[in-house]
């Protein structure tokens, strides 16, 4: 089935069932059946490493020596004004950057000393320094990055991807979310919005029962459960037999078999005892600082290996452990967060590469926005003079693998890193590009809702970035 056929709503499918029962039945039986993209894809899977809170581009991938020169001084009037959440931009002084940037790889890309491990893979990275949008609060920005829209109600990027391409894994969810804890925008970041629920992200927990309700009830053995499921099937098939026109009943029977396969597959997925010592060391699993995020990065690789289409790995949470929201002591905050994540991120890139998975897996790193060149509140207000406020007007994300040519920097922010000024990439363009890498035309991946065909990219989106990434 092509994506265009898939873009029919369920409503249409139900009604068309009168005329085209086969199509309707196929869609109802397995809405996750793998589908051909619009054109030849370079990436099959996506791993999105989401840095919750908004990492500073200025301390990481976008060096601005001018900041140190202007440290403590007001922003030159020529930069104009921007709206921020907590501080008054025009009243705050610029604060310098304490990081040291060095050149890495054949490309000589500049990366700060926060990421010594990741920096070794500089030639795999396409660093986009000119990301922008206008959602200057966490939820607006998180929704923007994840759902292409600052408000609630739209399907997430992962949901659109799975809706478009289906799944190549018949015993695990197609869209998996690996959380560190609570996130500021909550589950809408991986919800299916108005798409059918089958496309929503499934959160996977650490430990032996990674999926909700995956373990049979206490006291029920595997054999018991199989026996019960066989009996259930007997009843359900009789019932379905009495209603041959209602194909959802067959789909329902199939869903119990998939659930059973998931139960069987998940413990194997979670069981990392067969991973080598070298792999454990690579991800830093035996180091208290890196073990948590490292475990999720390793899980991401194991999921992609099993054909899971879209994996999102979160760093940072609202429920302990902190996040990248550097309002206070931005530099110290980032040192801590980078310490937890740098080695695992590098490990993931190396591991995917050595297993031949990097070519087909698009890895994305970034958060919901960058941070301001100015202080979060030095001269007035309760902010911290060494903190940085949210900056959606210019920030950095990077991509690697999945057909992206690495060792390059795309776009530029102004001298103080406030706004994207060269080759600006809006979130919509970023999304359009991800879909393009997956072989989908963002203008054709649509779903009818409330009287119009909706897209991930709304009525926007430009794929100039796509061309640059592959050139």
């Amino acid at each position: 089935m092509s994506i265009d056929a898939a873009s029919f709503s369920r409503r249409q499918l139900f009604r068309s069932a009168l005329g085209f029962p086969a199509l309707a039945a196929a869609a109802l039986t397995n809405p996750l059946a793998p589908r051909q993209p619009h054109f030849k894809a370079t990436a099959k899977n996506v791993i999105f490493l989401f840095m919750h809170g908004g990492p500073s581009h200025l301390e990481t991938f976008d060096p601005k020596p001018e900041l140190n020169r202007l440290h403590g001084k007001p922003v030159p009037a020529s930069f104009g004004k921007v709206q921020l959440q907590f501080s008054k931009f025009e009243e705050q002084p610029i604060i310098g950057c304490r990081r040291t940037f060095s050149r890495y790889g054949q490309s000589g890309m500049e990366i700060s000393d926060l990421f010594p491990h990741t920096a070794r893979h500089a030639d795999k990275l396409a660093v986009i320094r000119s990301m922008y949008h206008d959602g200057f609060t966490h939820t607006a920005a998180l929704n923007f990055l994840n759902n292409g829209w600052p408000r609630l109600g739209r399907p997430s990027l992962g949901s659109w991807v799975v809706y478009g391409l289906g799944s190549e894994c018949d015993n695990l969810p197609a869209f998996v979310v690996l959380l560190e804890g609570g996130i500021k925008c909550g589950p809408p970041a991986y919800s299916a919005g108005f798409l059918p629920a089958v496309y929503q992200g499934t959160t996977l927990r650490n430990g032996p029962a990674p999926i909700l309700n995956l373990k049979p009830p206490p006291g029920m053995t595997g054999a018991d459960q199989r026996d019960l499921l066989d009996s259930l099937r007997w009843f359900n098939e009789r019932h379905a037999g009495q209603h041959p026109a209602q194909s959802a009943l067959e789909a329902r029977i199939a869903s119990y078999e998939l659930a059973f396969r998931m139960q069987a597959a998940a413990p194997d997925l979670a069981d990392i005892s067969k991973e080598t010592k070298a792999t454990r060391d690579l991800y830093g699993l035996d180091n208290g600082t890196t073990a948590d995020f490292g475990g999720r990065c390793l899980m991401a690789r194991r999921l992609v290996e099993r054909g899971v289409r879209f994996v999102q790995v979160w760093s940072g949470s609202t429920t302990g452990g902190g996040d990248w929201d550097g309002h206070k002591q931005c530099d110290a905050n980032h040192k801590k967060m980078a310490g937890k994540t740098d080695q695992p991120v590098a490990a993931l890139l190396a591991d995917l590469e050595s297993r031949g998975l990097l070519d087909s897996t698009l890895v994305i790193w970034g958060g919901e926005f960058g941070r301001t060149p100015t202080s979060d509140g030095g001269l007035n207000g309760g902010g911290d003079p060494e903190g940085r406020d949210h900056n959606p007007y210019g920030f950095t994300l990077w991509m690697a693998g999945g057909g992206v040519k690495g060792g390059r920097v795309i776009g530029r922010t102004d001298e103080i890193g406030l706004r994207a000024i060269e080759d600006p990439v809006h979130v919509h363009d970023f999304h359009a590009t991800i879909l393009s890498l997956l072989g989908m035309d963002h203008t054709r991946l649509t779903y009818p809702f409330q009287g119009r065909d909706f897209r991930l990219t709304d009525v926007h989106g430009d794929t100039a970035l796509f061309d640059k990434l592959r050139a």
Binding site: T137, L152, T203, F235, H239, L249, R252, L258
Partner: protein
Amino acid sequence: MASVRYALVAVVAATLHADVPALIQAQCGGCHGGSAKMSGLDASSRAALLQGGSRGPAVVPGRSADSLLYQAIARTGDLKMPPGKKALSAADVKAVKEWIDQGAPWQAGAADAAAREAATWWSFRKPVKTKPPHDRANPVDAFLDTAAPAAPRQALIRRLSYDLHGLPPDPAEVEAFANDTDPGAYTKLVNRMLESPRYGERWGRMWLDIVRYADTGGYETDHYFANAWRYRDYVIRSFNSDKPYDVFVKEQIAADEIWPDDFDLDGSYVLPKSKEENLERRLGTALYTLGAMPVEFSFFGEQFRAEWQAEAVDMTGAAFLGLSLGCARCHDHKFDPISQRDYYRLSAIFAGSEDREIPITSQMRIFEYTRHQTRQVIADQLREQYKHLRPGDKDARETLLRKIGDAYVKAPEMYEKANLLVHRVPVPDTYVLGGGDWQRRGEKVEPGFPAALGAGPAIAEPVGTAWFIPRRRKALAEWIASPDHPLTARVMVNRVWQGHFGEGLVATPNDFGRQGEKPSNPELLDWLAVELMEHGWSLKHLHRVILESKAYRSTRDPMRLDADSLRDAVLAAAGALNTKMFGPPVAVRLSEDERDGMRDMSQWPVHPDAREHDRRSVYLFVKRSFRLPMMETFDAPDSSQSCARREVSTVAPQALTLMNSEWMVEQAERFAARIESSKDPVEAAWRIAFGRAPSAEERGKAREVASRHGLPRLCLLIFNMSEFVYVD
């Protein structure tokens, strides 16, 4: 002479390239038209094109080569339009070139013609009753000549019970109905079920979906709406009392303006009945206080108001008119005859209104609270002391805690309050906002109604008087709830139909516009709409007409229970359903696993009384940033916007939920305890769950399961059976 020649050319051109103005509108209008005039260019009229924008005139009649418009679309110079890769087709470019060379004739009135055409759209004309094609006693059957055989009685009562109550019928009731030979038995059953309070809970839930009901505001703050439940209860009471639908509409939009109650001191001691009634009506206006509001990125009063007014207009369009007005917030509606100006005229109706928490009780009750507020002072002082306790001082801590508890219990109970619409004066002006952006003010507009839907009542407001109360929403309410409005009755009839048949006569219940589906049986829809209005807008009458039809009573494909009904049905079968009605929302216990993704567990105040956890789903806490996992898995709406029809998905996590979740296992045990002492537990289980006796084969299989795995496991299996989850 020259002018004559020019006119002649123009006439010829009009026949050759009459469609070019429309082409320009379509291709350029998005950025150069309406309020969005990028580079100062407005492409919506010939005069504006000739005037041009910041780069100079766009069109020089007769000289395509000198016209910026042509240069841009032909991409001959620096300026390349439309932006991006997509150039116009060569044929379109040629047409524009010839059109300019022929003097750029612009057929006046083309837009008017479009508006006239739109005004003839089926749903914008008043419904009328027509003579049905068949001669049948029931009007529905007179329009739909149903060939399907009648459903068996046991199936019929189960269907009816889920449709009207969202619950399975009591086995004794099934038995009685199956054996009732009275020809009026079915009618009696329908009437009895319509009179049950369970009816309002079921149909109230349907309405709450439509109005995106929730107990929190969503987004990062996801703040608690402490009084939202009063609106939920108002809705349930309204359905139960068969409040005429037009009154229901009027109350929600403008009860405070139509039935004002707050300008007298009558009721200081005991509220007089009339005032109590008016306060009840006013609870309806809480509809406009429940939206998902991004407070954290609406810092400025004006910005927040712009967001709030937009939400109010969108809500009104979706719920009462079945129209997606939201499109017109940023630009003229592309498909329906709603201009951006129309949108802001509607928005201006809400300009004098705002959400405020107000007491909804007698003065005496408030005095009683304030008189004893001194006790609250003590509680607060003790709490302050507690905060400054030295760590380790265990005895002092315990003593203080006891005192605080004591003081808290003695502190006066807060009087009843609700968040309702109130007025603010002076009423702020309303402007057309470019791209919906509150900072891009365009033309100032006065409140009014979309022309294509027929003129509404005059909005006459006294100016400059001291006691001036806006009457804008009253006008809106009376316009919508009028028998002359083409949409109101049709939209509601369609919702009721969908509630009984799974799909509406119009398959897009919130979109009766051009993008929506046309009705499958327009005559029937109109007949029912007029019937509803002729019978005092009584929804129960409408239910009766539909439910009495052969069409409803025939066999059909089974339909899956929605999330609420499924949870309630499980509780009912387990004999555990707590039918207590109304009151603050209940947060139920979550399993360890289910707490994943919750931002902060303190925002999920689990009710200390476990019996409360067995209440009907409509009374559960609806948190916008966290849906109850079971409800989410079974397609409960996310409450971010109006949900006119729930999805019906079939996914593996549903199987995992029903087979493995702690909650299901617990209910299965309760179900087993309920039936284990029966003479024949399998028979009892079947009658409770399916409203019928098991066949011999089923009985045998079920006994086998029970003997191998125990009765609770058989009960768990029953909850997982398609026959339990689907209704014939």
